[in-house]
C-alpha cells in the first residue's frame, strides 16, 4: 500500500482498522506520525462538535410534549397526503399550469447540479454492477455499460422526487446526467446559469438533464446516455 492510499483512507475513516492499513502503519514511520496527528485532530473534532445543550432542552420535556399527541398510523396520513397531492396535480394539469412545473424542475435541476459543482474531475471508476445497483431502486435501467468513465452515481432529491445522478468524466470538467422518473417536461429546454450549461429533455417515463461546464459537447453525452439508459417505470418515489 502506498502512503498516499493509506492517508486517504485514514481521512475517510479515522477509525478504520483494516488489516492492510494496520500493516502499513507498522512499517511506515511517516504514516505512523501522520496517524498520530490525525488521531489528535479527531479528538479535537469530537470536542468541537459537542456544542453545549441549551437550557430548557430536557429529555423529559421533549418526551412529554411528544406524548401530548397520540401515535398515529403514518400509513394513513401518507395515503391522505398522496390523495391530496394527486388532486393538486390534477388541478395543476387541468389548469394548464404544467409549464410552471417545468420551470420549477429546471430550477431544481440546476440547484442539484450546483450542489456538486466542485466535484473532483477524476477518481476511481465506478463499476457497471455498482452503477446498476444505484439506478435500480428508481427504475432506471442500464442496458449496456457507459463508454464514458463514471466517477460515481447517487440517488438524490429533485423537486421532491428521487432521481438518479450520474457523474462522468468530461472533456473539460465532470459532466452530470440526471434521470428523473415520473417528472415529465413538455419540451427540450436549455439549462444555463452562467457556470453550468446543458439540456433538459423529455424521455419516456420522465425527463433527462445533462449538464457540464460551458464548452462541453453535451450532444455527445446525450446520444450515449439515451442509448444506454432508460426509465423502465416511473415508480412512486416521492419523498
Amino acid at each position: 500500500m502506498k502512503c498516499s492510499e493509506y492517508q486517504e483512507q485514514l481521512l475517510v475513516n479515522p477509525s478504520n482498522v483494516d488489516r492492510g492499513l494496520t500493516e502499513h502503519l507498522q512499517n511506515c514511520p511517516a504514516c505512523a506520525a501522520y496517524a498520530q496527528r490525525e488521531s489528535q485532530i479527531q479528538a479535537q473534532l469530537r470536542d468541537a462538535v459537542e456544542v453545549p445543550i441549551p437550557e430548557g432542552l430536557a429529555p423529559a420535556q421533549l418526551a412529554a410534549a411528544s406524548f401530548r399527541q397520540s401515535p398515529v398510523v403514518v400509513r394513513k396520513t401518507r395515503s391522505f397526503l398522496a390523495l391530496a397531492a394527486g388532486i393538486l396535480l390534477a388541478a395543476f394539469v387541468a389548469g394548464g399550469l404544467l409549464p410552471q412545473f417545468t420551470d420549477s424542475l429546471e430550477a431544481a435541476v440546476l440547484a442539484e447540479l450546483a450542489h456538486d459543482r466542485d466535484r473532483p474531475a477524476s477518481g476511481p471508476e465506478l463499476q457497471t454492477a455498482e452503477l446498476r445497483s444505484v439506478l435500480e431502486p428508481v427504475g432506471v435501467e442500464l442496458r449496456t455499460g457507459l463508454q464514458r468513465t463514471v466517477l460515481f452515481a447517487e440517488l438524490c432529491d429533485v423537486a421532491k422526487r428521487k432521481a438518479a445522478h450520474i457523474v462522468m468524466v468530461g472533456e473539460i470538467a465532470p459532466v452530470s446526467a440526471l434521470l428523473m422518473p415520473g417528472q415529465p417536461v413538455t419540451a427540450r429546454t436549455t439549462l444555463d446559469d452562467g457556470r453550468i450549461t446543458g439540456i433538459l429533455i423529455p424521455i419516456p417515463g420522465g425527463s433527462l438533464a445533462i449538464a457540464g461546464s460551458p464548452g462541453e459537447p453535451i450532444g455527445q453525452y446525450e446520444d450515449e446516455v439515451l442509448s444506454t439508459l432508460r426509465i423502465r417505470h416511473a415508480g412512486a418515489h416521492e419523498l
Partner: protein, 207 residues
C-alpha cells in the same frame, strides 16, 4: 460511551426488575424482542420512546445545530423531530436502526423548515456561530475548529458531523443522507481536507 452508560442507568430506573445479563440483553428486552422468551414484562412503548429521547436528544440537537447554526432553531427543530418521531414510532421495528432513523427524521425536519421559511441553506454569517465560538468551556483552538466546521459547505458538513458526533459508519451515513457509499466517502474525505487546509493555513475555507 458516556451516553451509553447513562442510558443503561435510565433503563434500570424505569425497569428496576431487570436482570444483569449485559447491555445487549437489556436492550433486546427493552424493545420487546426477548420479553416473551424471558417471561418478563414487555416494556411499554412510551418507556421505549422515553429512553430513545434520553439517549439521543443531545446528538439530535447537535446535528441540527450544525445544519442550521442557530441554537434557537436547532432547539425548536429538535422538538419537532421528536414529535414526528413519536407519531411514527409504532412503525419502527428494528431497534438497531433507531438512531439512524432519528437522524433521518431530524434532517427532514431541517429541510422542511428550510423549504418553508428560508429557501436554500443560507450559509454561515459571522455571528451565527458566536454562541459556540465564545463558549467559555472550550479553548481558542476549539473555537477555531468550530468555526471551521461551520464554514464547510453543507454537503461536506453533514456527513462529517454524523461521523464524528454519532460515530456512524459510512453505510449508515449513506442511508441517512440518501447517498451512495462512494459519495459519502468522497464528501468526508473532502471535508477533512478542507478542515486541514483551514486549520493549517488559518484562512477562510474556499471551495
Amino acid at each position: 460511551m458516556v451516553e451509553g452508560t447513562k442510558s443503561l442507568s435510565a433503563y434500570q430506573a424505569v425497569v428496576p426488575r431487570s436482570s444483569r445479563r449485559g447491555l445487549r440483553a437489556k436492550a433486546a428486552r427493552l424493545w420487546g424482542g426477548r420479553a416473551a422468551a424471558d417471561g418478563e414484562r414487555e416494556v411499554p412503548i412510551r418507556q421505549r420512546f422515553e429512553l430513545l429521547v434520553q439517549t439521543d436528544f443531545k446528538n439530535v440537537y447537535r446535528f441540527l445545530f450544525w445544519l442550521c447554526h442557530s441554537e434557537a432553531l436547532a432547539k425548536d427543530l429538535t422538538q419537532e423531530t421528536f414529535l414526528r418521531a413519536w407519531k411514527a414510532f409504532p412503525d419502527l421495528r428494528d431497534p438497531q436502526k433507531a438512531k439512524a432513523w432519528l437522524m433521518t427524521t431530524a434532517r427532514r425536519e431541517y429541510f422542511r423548515y428550510n423549504e418553508r421559511d428560508q429557501g436554500e441553506d443560507a450559509g454561515v454569517e459571522p455571528d451565527d456561530l458566536a454562541g459556540v465560538t465564545h463558549d467559555p468551556a472550550v479553548d481558542a483552538e476549539a473555537h477555531g475548529i468550530r468555526r471551521a466546521i461551520g464554514e464547510l459547505p453543507l454537503a461536506y458538513r453533514e456527513p462529517l458531523v454524523l461521523q464524528v458526533l454519532g460515530g456512524y459508519t459510512g453505510a449508515e451515513i449513506a442511508e441517512i443522507l440518501g447517498l451512495s457509499r462512494n459519495n459519502v466517502d468522497q464528501r468526508i474525505y473532502r471535508a477533512r481536507r478542507l478542515l486541514k487546509e483551514r486549520l493549517d493555513g488559518g484562512g477562510k475555507i474556499s471551495v
